[in-house]
């Protein structure tokens, strides 16, 4: 049996398969379908300082090999998370990672501080890349100074593993990656959704209530792969690859491009067992290629 363990800063993941925020609820929604503890970890739905109702319906449009969403960070706020949701996460023995969002630097700091006190959560993923909120979110992740400011402010109050999740909606993603690394990020995950749009030709109206939304699914995979490759070359911290990963081959491609771990996102919607199937497929690949340690894959691209 090959070793599947990978390190993301201080996290020793038993395997490189994680689930992406917003596509896996709080884990429990998948308990009927898989053993959630079999995964390296889960990144739970984004938490903001305040309760958010999210955007009006319709929030979703199916697109070729993917979907647009405009959920708008619907969640009950950090205090509810700490009091009601966190206790339900204690049953998971793998890593539970919180996704932190806000509309101001102070908001991000408030959520990070409160989650810092939770023993069972060893890492946060800083969401500076949500395209579906009017303030904050992606606005922080699309310029170096604002990405630096929010990362630095959170770094000051958060002493465990800090992952920063990047937006692909930028001209040079390496620059943002370097900025957040410099500001204290322990790891970088990418990509969040690509800003897109859908129109109903019959009604001449936009499909989404917000007009634009975030594209995910296999349609974004080549873009995500390219960006992971660019960022992994630029930074020293570990990179977590996200973007349309549906099969074990997809996951391995991201690792070859430089990712130390991967997140399964939209695929969870089509097959709630996708994450564990990808894990089994990675093991099968290692066996077939006679590789004893999954970490050999990271950056193993042959040019």
């Amino acid at each position: 049996m090959a070793s599947l363990e990978v390190n993301i800063h201080n996290l020793k993941l038993k395997n490189p398969v994680l689930t992406a925020s917003g596509t896996f609820g709080y884990g429990e929604e998948y308990d009927d379908f898989i053993d959630v503890n079999a995964l390296g970890g889960i990144i739970v739905k984004a938490t903001t300082p305040e309760h958010r109702e999210g955007n009006p319906y319709p929030r979703m449009a199916e697109t070729p090999m993917g979907m647009l969403n405009a959920v708008g960070l619907q969640n009950k706020g950090v205090d509810y998370f700490v009091e009601h949701i966190y206790p339900r996460l204690l049953k998971y023995s793998n890593y539970v990672i919180a996704n932190v969002s806000g509309s101001t630097v102070e908001g991000y700091v408030e959520v990070a501080e409160k989650i810092n006190r939770l023993d069972h959560i060893q890492a946060i993923e800083l969401n500076i890349s949500c395209p579906n909120v009017k303030e904050g979110g992606m606005a922080f992740g699309t310029s170096c100074p604002s990405a630096t400011a929010v990362t630095r402010a959170v770094r000051e109050v958060y002493d465990k593993t800090l992952i920063v999740k990047l937006s692909p909606n930028v001209t040079r993603i390496e620059d943002i990656a370097l900025a957040v690394e410099e500001a204290g990020a322990d790891a970088i995950s990418l990509i969040n959704t690509l800003l897109g749009m859908a129109i109903n030709a019959e009604t001449r109206r936009p499909v989404l209530s917000t007009v634009t939304g975030g594209l995910s699914g296999p349609a974004v995979k080549p873009v995500a792969l390219r960006m992971v490759w660019q960022v992994a070359k630029a930074v020293k911290v570990p990179v977590i690859g996200i973007g349309g990963i549906t099969t074990a081959a997809d996951a391995i491609e991201f690792m070859l491009a430089g990712a130390s771990a991967i997140q399964v996102g939209t695929a969870n919607f089509i097959d709630p067992q996708a994450s564990v199937k990808i894990l089994a497929g990675i093991e099968e690949y290692l066996y077939r290629h006679n590789i004893s340690d999954v970490r050999e894959l990271t950056g193993g691209l042959v040019l």
Binding site: T23, G25, Y57, M65, N69, V71, Q74, D271, P272, Q273
Partner: protein, 269 residues
């Protein structure tokens, strides 16, 4: 209720009219427990334009035969692929999803279905009949050809029909049928599924007579299990997922559905 992901076999596929099929599915093991009003998410294979699963009401469950039925309306390439399935084909399905209808006993109930909105009502009528309820069923459609399997419902109660062109039953909209026009309308519960406007109208009539009304909603969704938060409906307790907190709602839960005065608070912009 525990959810399952299963590969079921198509036992039969009956074409009901130009764009509706009745798909009978079964498997070797007993089908999981499910209740009227719940739904299934079906994976569509072989359709280039269909990425997400498609939700369908659980139309019938035949425990003796260990089969279940889905009523498929062909509206796009994905549903057409499902309508083209043949006996012996495999279907990957997640079920049972969502919450069901409130099930009364020994009561007088009215079921109102419009078009393919009858989909969840067969299983409901079957169950309510067995529980000693007196069941009336009102089915509406554009034309006689749109009234699906009306005879099948007669086993459970009295069937009333409305067609817009008058080719079957009373002429006009289902909401204008004499059953609903009755000034003395008195049921213990009205269950309704159909187009949005029809459900709102039926809910309004029910409210005017002080009758509880449950409606089954069909918002577009991705996951079906309360994760993606795409299928939300505005309720008096905030946005709720149709896939987990519904698809069945009491019409009084839904914001803007009943006549009560809105409080005037708006969501943050």
């Amino acid at each position: 209720m525990k959810k399952y992901i299963l590969d079921l076999k198509v036992r039969s596929n009956r074409r009901l009219n130009r764009n509706h099929n009745l798909l009978e599915l079964g498997c070797i093991n007993p089908l999981p427990p499910m209740v009227p009003g719940q739904f299934a998410e079906v994976r569509v294979d072989g359709s280039q334009t269909t990425y997400l699963r498609r939700p369908f009401s659980i139309h019938r469950v035949d425990r003796a035969a260990n089969t279940m039925h889905l009523l498929i309306k062909s509206v796009g390439d994905g549903t057409r692929k499902l309508a083209d399935l043949e006996a012996g084909d495999s279907v990957n399905i997640m079920l049972p999803l969502g919450s069901g209808f409130t099930l009364t006993r020994n009561a007088r109930v009215l079921l109102v279905g419009g078009g393919c909105g009858v989909a969840p009502l067969y299983y409901l009528a079957d169950h309510l009949f067995r529980q000693g309820n007196k069941v009336d069923i009102l089915i509406g459609g554009r034309s006689a050809d749109d009234i699906l399997m009306a005879d099948d419902y007669r086993a459970f109660g009295t069937v009333y029909i409305a067609t817009e062109d008058g080719t079957l039953g009373e002429k006009g909209m289902v909401t204008g049928h004499s059953v609903l026009k009755n000034k003395e309308l008195s049921y213990d519960m009205i269950y309704c599924c159909g187009p949005d406007g029809m459900m709102r109208a039926v809910a309004g009539i029910a409210e005017a007579h002080g009758i509880e009304c449950e409606v089954s909603l069909e918002n577009t969704m991705a996951c079906g299990i309360g994760v993606c938060l795409c299928c939300v409906v505005e309720t008096h307790e905030g946005n709720q997922c149709v896939c987990t907190q519904g698809p069945v709602f009491n019409s009084k839960q839904l914001k803007g559905w009943t006549a009560e005065v809105e409080t005037g608070c708006s969501l943050d912009q």
